[in-house]
């Protein structure tokens, strides 16, 4: 019993770390733009297909596949940024969201036109497993977890130790104020988008390598997992994205085990809905910032 519980929790954490990675990119975009990019998953999906193209057609090595996945995701992400965010005026958050959905459909159709089969193989990354005591841990899950941790640390350093990070935080807090201190807000938004897509590309690569196959539905899956994890953690918060991803992984693992696989997604959505109703700010609701924001703008 206890063993099952711990094993499920472990599985949840490892799978959850991939959700965390997806949610980090999602939340980064939301944090700076205050808008949702639903096309986030599909751009990553496009990246993984770029990777698989190299693998299937040219039998490319791991590094080349990873690079192609990353490049594909970034290119698709930049396209989304130009069409759905840059071209739509500030403040029209809902228009951007719907537009990103429209582009989602485009990306998905492009992929299905170029890749007509249902699934394509993807090269594995770490095909081994550890068995500490009664437990079982997959090697690719370990790699995923390590990458999620590394990216978190790097992102933190980038945000709090560099000029770019300073600019990014300034723009996300107050674009007008950022503009008049001399920050090129357009460029910052663009770079943030590219960065988020790159993180998404890493996540996509790791997940595809763990599954050893990809389908066009990966876009939908990635968007939804990222979106749920981000919302659970609190939109716009990076620690929130990590915690939200892990929480989602754990909920799925346990509900799938104890209630049956058909309840896995249902439980995840139910928890999401409950969070939206009772704790819309997510796990780390930021009351403090709201207060200081109000204080700064006296009536």
């Amino acid at each position: 019993m206890i063993v099952d519980f711990v094993q499920n929790t472990l599985d949840g954490i490892f799978v959850g770390s991939s959700y965390s990675l997806l949610a980090i990119g999602f939340t980064l975009i939301f944090g700076v733009m205050r808008r949702l990019n639903l096309s986030y998953g599909p751009s990553i999906m496009l990246g993984t297909f770029a990777g698989t193209l190299l693998f299937v057609e040219f039998e490319a090595g791991l590094l080349a596949v990873a690079a192609a996945t990353l490049a594909g995701a970034v290119l698709a992400g930049v396209y989304v940024e130009r069409v759905c965010f840059w071209a739509i005026r500030r403040g029209a958050a809902l228009a951007s969201m719907v537009s990103s959905f429209a582009i989602w459909m485009q990306l998905e159709e492009i992929v299905t036109v170029v890749f007509p089969d249902r699934t394509y193989p993807f090269p594995p990354l770490a095909d081994f497993a550890l068995e500490p005591g009664p437990f079982f841990v997959r090697g690719d899950h370990l790699v995923m977890f390590a990458c999620a941790a590394a990216i978190t640390v790097l992102l933190h350093l980038l945000l709090y130790r560099t000029r770019f990070g300073l600019a990014l935080r300034a723009v996300s807090r107050n674009p007008a104020a950022a503009a008049f201190v001399g920050i090129n807000t357009g460029l910052v938004l663009f770079s943030a988008f590219a960065l988020a897509s790159a993180i998404g590309g890493v996540a996509g690569y790791l997940i595809a390598a763990a599954d050893q196959q990809i389908t066009p539905f990966f876009g939908l899956w990635a968007t939804f997992k990222g979106l749920i994890a981000m919302t659970l953690g609190g939109m716009g918060s990076i620690p929130g994205a990590i915690a939200g991803g892990l929480l989602l992984g754990i909920i799925e693992a346990h509900s799938g085990w104890y209630l049956g696989t058909e309840y896995r997604d249902l439980s995840a959505y139910a928890v999401l809905f409950a969070f939206l109703v009772f704790r819309p700010g997510g796990l780390f609701a930021q009351r403090q910032t709201l207060r200081s924001q109000l204080a700064a703008r006296r009536v």
Binding site: L36, A93, M97, A102, Y263, L266, F273
Partner: protein, 317 residues
């Protein structure tokens, strides 16, 4: 009439209900990613009524609409506090929950030695009322459009009277509406219920045309399409969403010019419209201009000073 054409027109008609459902919420200022849930509930409820309980078609239709409206009423309360993006995600989560529940929902009875009823992800077969009553596809299409005309007429009445004005007022400036005396809760819940019931009618019609329901078709793609129809056709009038449906299903899907590339065109079209006409082709300003043009061209000066528009000159005032 060509069988294919009948099928396309029937599809346009049924999806129009879903588009109108999303439109009702759009004019009150909410973006819902979840109207397909009410479409599904209407479909299942009416299918159960006619295929399993032996009800007639019309009671089944009303029951489907009522069930969808009731579900919408339940959803309306928890989502009242959600705004903007949160409302969109909340409705999406709700709709996915409904779909996943239908994936595990089993309720079957034996009729004539055959099991009938929803069977989880296997779907719900044997909603055969239309076939048993020998109604042709063409006649069923006419029926769809008759019901659609009824719903449209109702919406036009709503838009010209109190309810429509208040919905649009809420959609444009909630705070203003409240300071002018609008009870936000009441009107938002009402909009959600009406929107749910309209989607439910569409679902009921869909169930009986297809005879077979599968939970996975009620996925979020369906919901987002219905949302996009209003945004393409325009939010200035209830005709807007219908134009959107016509463009997508009528032109892109059925004309087969873009077969295989439909989504690339459709997606691009929506994205472009959102940049250049964020409230669709027939937005409020366009409708206003059309009405003014119509009035100036076709109405006699005497009539113009009467009921519909300009005030009578009042030199003394």
């Amino acid at each position: 009439m060509d069988e294919y054409l009948v099928q396309v027109l029937s599809n346009i008609g049924m999806i129009s209900f879903l588009a109108l459902s999303a439109y009702i919420l759009l004019i009150t200022g909410e973006i819902s990613f979840g109207q397909q849930a009410f479409f599904a509930i209407g479909a299942y409820a009416s299918g159960i009524a006619t295929a399993m309980w032996g009800w007639g078609f019309w009671p089944g239709l009303v029951w489907g609409a009522a069930a969808a409206g009731a579900a919408a009423f339940l959803l309306a309360w928890p989502t009242l506090r959600m705004r903007g993006l949160f409302f969109a995600i909340g409705t999406l989560a709700f709709a996915e929950m409904v779909r996943l529940i239908f994936e595990i929902f089993r309720y079957q009875v034996e009729i004539d030695g055959e099991l009938v009823g929803p069977n989880g992800s296997e779907g719900f077969r044997g909603i055969r009322y239309i076939f048993e009553q020998d109604i042709s596809a063409f006649h069923y299409m006419l029926l769809i459009y008759a019901v659609l005309a009824g719903v449209l007429a109702l919406l036009f009445v709503i838009e010209r009277t109190r309810l429509g004005a208040i919905w649009r007022m809420l959609g444009e400036d909630e705070l203003l509406a409240e300071t002018e005396g609008v009870n936000r809760t009441y009107y938002k819940v009402l909009a959600t219920v009406v929107a749910g019931a309209v989607a439910g009618i569409g679902g009921a019609l869909y169930a009986h045309m297809n005879t077979y329901l599968e939970p996975k078709i009620f996925n979020v793609m369906l919901g987002v399409h219905s949302l996009a129809y209003g945004l393409i056709g325009g939010l200035g009038t209830a005709f807007g969403p219908l134009i959107g449906v016509g463009i997508d299903i009528g032109l892109l899907e059925s004309a087969r010019i873009f077969s295989g590339y439909r989504m690339i065109v459709f997606g691009g079209l929506v994205a472009l419209l959102l940049i250049f006409r964020p409230r669709g082709l027939l937005d409020e300003a366009a409708v206003h201009a059309l009405v003014a043009w119509w009035r100036n061209t076709f109405s006699s000066p005497a009539k113009r000073s009467g009921g519909s528009g300009r005030p009578p000159e009042r030199p003394g005032a």
